[in-house]
């Protein structure tokens, strides 16, 4: 048990908690140091009406200090929380650091938070000051203020629709800065005082858990946590000094604070802020960053855009693409398996770089990216291989808000698709008996905001209980399977997470749905629903005749195809979790039959009940089963359909 869970306890106790932290090693000191050593280097760029407005480190510090001086005049106290809401804007970054300089705590919120949720956050954290991007956010806050009059001061950035007719208590960011500048000119010594107030043990930012289960919990991260996380990641080579970074992800997400503020200060990034969310990808091309992060879904969307673009491209270009792209993907696949390309292949790759890979990267704005990352969920093999084949060293990393988002990442030269790589130096990782991933290190937070029960549950003896299940591979790479709450056991006591294996199977576009069986059984098996479009297309190309979905699913060629997919997935699974048998279902899981929810999440109990005969046959060792299917017609009537389904065994080679 950790006795000191209150994040805002006196700093004397904190020094005991983190003996390695230097008192004066904090974000503001680093900012001042940058401004002193590199006054003219560009720290921040914002695209405004088509051109990029630049702020040097000197300007950055000036804005932060002026805002801090102005904000103090408005009466903010240390340990007060400052709501920050809006899209990425320089003023909001300056504002956050200004508050930090006063030892106040910025509490960012997602710009699309609805008023009720926002009101909850304001009340829970007794927020009296807010920094909002524009009229929309100010309106939202004014509406909340009617029930929550404590919210006394709202500072806005974008003057459109607000300047000149501010309601009481609403003030422009520029006015606060102007007042602060006046104070700085008037009061000698204030500047040095502001630079010295913060300490490494102060909370730098108050972030929030997603709140999918109950109300969001506040997660205070201290200067020391953030610096430890950034430095250990930099030490492991995950970013370098002077990266060009694009700040387009929400400011309330932990990654943005770590990348755009923490790492940006420590490693002197140039942070680029797009004109708006809609223009982010256009602006990306203008900047061509060297460090780029986006979610697996966004990478996947990017791939779709390329494929659609190539499909409608002209003959020669399309021919070249179809010649060079599969080659590069195959080459990359073999490279990940440890085969070095031959000299001829390298030459062909170089020609492809000029003709196809380079231009595509140029179009995406990723021509200069040295560190492309993804995190958050598993990325599909196709997507992952495609971008790696383009020559982007795409890597996955893993982390939670509680450990500053930086816990583990794949290293540049050892990529295994199913792992998230090795933990960062200085971070201890172990697997609990129930399979949960535990972590301890300087970047692990000290407890939830005013929530001792949750803290006691998550932090035990300094070990962060991530709630994720996983295991360590023999070479020290961490595999994340899914949430601990989803773990299932086989009869032999083997732990596995069905959704993890199912998602791996579904990375193949031939498989639409899959249901992994094995709870309380001897081994794992799968019920597979093929994707009619993809498999149908495959059948056409390979001359496999079929009449219907049910017919197609039982063609020996198709069963062979699916067996191949499963066998490939099996190679990345631990031996006991490999799929031994599977059956191709004669129909898709259907929400009308209650087998999946409307959002296509499996309802396992319904599937177990509907297909009990099939499941029993699989585990009885039968080679096929004659199955009487209950089907519900769209008119609401139900009927019975008799089908013979083949059950295939899969060779599981010994690892």
């Amino acid at each position: 048990m950790l006795p000191k869970v209150q994040p805002l306890a006196a700093s004397g106790d904190q020094a005991v908690l983190h003996p390695h932290w230097q008192q004066d090693d904090h974000l503001i000191a680093i900012l001042a140091d940058n401004a002193r050593r590199f006054p003219d280097r560009v720290a921040l760029r914002e695209r405004d009406r088509g051109i990029w407005q630049e702020y040097s480190w000197q300007d950055y510090l000036e804005q932060v200090l002026s805002f801090a001086a102005g904000l103090e005049q408005l009466g903010i106290q240390p340990e007060d929380n400052l709501l920050v809401i809006g899209d990425n804007r320089p003023a909001l970054y300056f504002g956050m650091l200004g508050a930090i300089a006063l030892r106040a705590v910025p509490s960012p919120a997602y710009p699309d938070t609805v008023p009720e949720e926002l009101a909850g956050q304001l009340k829970r954290e007794s927020i009296r000051y807010a920094l909002a991007e524009d009229l929309e956010q100010v309106d939202k806050l004014l509406q909340i203020r009617e029930q929550y009059p404590e919210l006394g001061t709202i500072i806005y950035d974008d003057p459109r629709g607000l300047a000149g007719k501010e309601p009481p208590g609403v003030i422009a960011y520029t006015d606060v800065v102007a007042r602060g500048r006046e104070r700085l000119a008037r009061e000698s010594g204030l500047r040095e005082d502001l630079l010295r107030r913060a300490t490494a043990h102060d909370v730098a930012v108050l972030l929030h858990s997603s709140g999918t289960t109950g109300t969001p919990k506040g997660i205070p991260l201290k200067h020391g946590h953030i610096l430890a996380a950034v430095r250990s990641a930099a030490e492991a080579g995950y970013f370098e000094e002077g990266e060009v970074h694009m700040a387009y992800l929400p400011m309330a997400w932990v990654g943005d604070f770590i990348f755009s503020v923490g790492a940006a200060l420590v490693l002197r990034f140039t942070v680029n802020i797009p004109e708006g969310q809609e223009t982010a990808f256009h602006d990306l091309r203008e900047i061509a960053p060297t460090l780029f992060f986006c979610s697996p879904r966004a990478w996947s969307n990017m791939l779709t855009r390329i494929q659609v673009g190539m499909d409608e491209s002209t003959g020669l270009k399309r021919w070249l693409y179809r010649y060079f792209m599969p080659f590069a993907i195959e080459l990359e696949r073999r490279r990940l398996e440890g085969q070095a390309p031959t000299a001829g292949e390298r030459l062909k790759r170089a020609i492809g770089e000029i003709l196809i890979y380079g231009p595509i990267k140029d179009h995406l704005g990723l021509a200069r990216v040295r560190h492309p990352y993804t995190a958050g969920e598993a990325i599909g093999e196709d997507v992952f291989l495609f971008f790696r084949a383009l020559g982007l060293n795409l890597r996955q990393f893993y982390g939670q808000t509680e450990n500053c988002a930086l816990a583990a990442a794949q290293s540049a030269d050892e990529i295994k698709l199913h792992t998230v790589g090795r933990p960062f130096p200085g971070l201890e990782v172990k697997i609990a008996d129930n399979g949960e991933i535990l972590m301890r290190g300087e970047n692990v937070f000290d407890g939830y905001y005013q929530h001792p029960e949750a803290t006691a549950e998550t932090l035990r003896d300094g070990w962060l209980h991530t709630g994720d299940a996983g295991y360590m591979e023999d070479d020290g790479q961490l595999v994340v399977l899914g949430r601990v709450s989803e773990v299932v056991h086989t009869a032999g006591g083997e732990r596995y997470i069905p959704t993890y294996i199912e998602n791996r199977l579904k990375f193949s576009h031939y498989i639409k749905d899959a249901c992994i069986l094995g709870s309380g059984r001897d081994y794992l098996a799968a019920i597979v629903c093929i994707d009619l479009q993809a498999v149908g297309h495959w059948a056409q190309e390979n001359g496999v005749p079929y009449t219907s979905y049910a017919d197609l699913s039982q063609r020996p060629e198709v069963i062979g195809l699916i067996a191949g997919v499963i066998e490939r997935t099996n190679t990345v699974l631990p031996e006991a979790q490999r799929i031994r048998r599977f059956v191709n279902l004669h129909k898709e899981f259907d929400p009308d039959d209650g087998e999946v929810t409307r959002t296509r999440k499996l309802r396992r109990n319904v599937i177990d009940e509907h297909y009990k005969a099939i499941i029993d046959a699989i585990y009885a060792g039968a080679d096929e089963i004659e199955f009487e299917a209950q089907i519900t017609y769209e008119t609401g009537e139900s009927g019975v359909l008799k089908r013979t389904l083949a059950i295939r065994d899969l060779a599981v080679e010994e690892a």
Partner: protein, 357 residues
């Protein structure tokens, strides 16, 4: 494939509006400029003086005309007359003792004044009627030059250009004359490129697209039409003087007949109305393609692959040339410059078909 656009960003509007923001375009310009400067080293005297030099000067003439026809939309079928005024003015000015540099400006000014007088017709008439008005200028100027001995030196006379110095350099060698022509065409090119992105250029385009609509939005059409004639005639006059001093080195009225006017119009049309690049391509096409075709046909006939009468042989190049012009205009009505633009776009969006926004 060759174009790389990522990483190009601007911190000021001035740089966002520069002529060639894309590095690949800039490289093309550098290469062309270097070729132009190194041409005396690369080509023999014959190629320099009988191909490259007239091409550059006629490009300058086509640029002057494209300002009027392509950008301001005022048809002009008597541009050779404007050049004739410039050529004769410069010679008479130099003979009267005016320094060559000032004589060039004077030639431009006289051509501009006379050109604007005839251009004043454009205030009243448009389209075919303007063509007639400018044709009248062509014939009036031709007649005046031939019939006023003070200008032409007599009905069949040829006026030799006196020896001159330009900025203290004697204009005595082919190479020095080449560089003067190159300097002039570069100057005209930069001028037209910049006119296109100024308020003057936008006003002219507005007048071209619909003059009364332009008047409604506050463009003074009288002023801008006259300004277009004035500027274009000034440039045409100086080009005529450069043509006389650098290429012909002697002037006769036959050098500036109606045929030349039609050739100039053809250059502008084949190259692409209003396009700077088009002026170069059009001038090159109109001047050089007939020569190339004649040589090709002569070669084929010499090798015995083309056995036709000598009479027909002389006409085949003309027939092919005519067919080529029609072909190009059918294939791409917006001219050679548009063909270049299409090719550039093909590579600009490579490997996609459209630019993605």
């Amino acid at each position: 494939m060759f174009y790389r656009l990522s990483g190009i960003h601007h911190t000021r509007y001035e740089s966002a509006r520069q002529l060639w923001p894309i590095p690949m375009d800039r490289w093309q310009i550098y290469v062309l400029l270097a070729l132009g400067l190194a041409a005396p080293l690369l080509f023999s005297g014959l190629y320099l003086t009988s191909y490259l030099l007239p091409w550059l000067i006629m490009s300058a003439a086509a640029l002057s005309l494209t300002l009027l026809m392509g950008i301001a939309g005022q048809l002009h079928f008597g541009f050779a007359a404007v050049m004739a005024i410039g050529a004769y003015s410069s010679i008479h000015l130099v003979r009267a003792g005016v320094p060559f540099e000032l004589a060039l400006l004077g030639a431009g000014a006289i051509a501009a004044v006379i050109g604007s007088v005839f251009g004043a017709a454009a205030l009243r008439v448009k389209g075919l009627y303007l063509v007639m008005a400018t044709l009248a200028m062509q014939y009036l100027v031709d007649w005046t030059i031939i019939n006023v001995p003070a200008i032409s030196g007599g009905a069949q006379a040829t006026l030799q250009t006196p020896a001159v110095r330009f900025l203290f350099m004697p204009l005595a060698s082919d190479v020095s004359r080449y560089y003067l022509a190159l300097g002039w065409v570069v100057l005209v090119t930069l001028l037209i490129l910049n006119i296109k992105r100024t308020s003057l250029g936008r006003a002219l385009v507005a007048v071209r697209d619909k003059d009364f609509a332009a008047a409604v939005i506050g463009v003074d059409t009288v002023k801008y039409k006259l300004l277009a004639f004035f500027t274009s005639s000034f440039l045409g006059g100086v080009t005529g003087a450069v043509l006389a001093f650098c290429y012909y080195r002697a002037v006769t009225p036959e050098q500036f007949t109606f045929n030349v006017s039609i050739q100039l119009v053809a250059m502008v049309l084949v190259g692409g109305l209003g396009s700077v690049l088009g002026a170069y391509l059009g001038a090159g096409f109109v001047l050089l393609v007939p020569i190339v075709l004649t040589n090709v046909v002569a070669f084929l006939a010499g090798a015995g692959w083309l056995s036709v009468s000598t009479n027909l042989l002389a006409h085949i190049p003309l027939m092919v040339y005519g067919a080529l012009i029609i072909g190009f205009l059918l294939f791409e009505p917006l001219g050679l410059a548009k063909i270049y633009d299409n090719i550039r776009n093909y590579f600009l969006v490579w490997p996609f078909r459209h630019s993605r926004s």
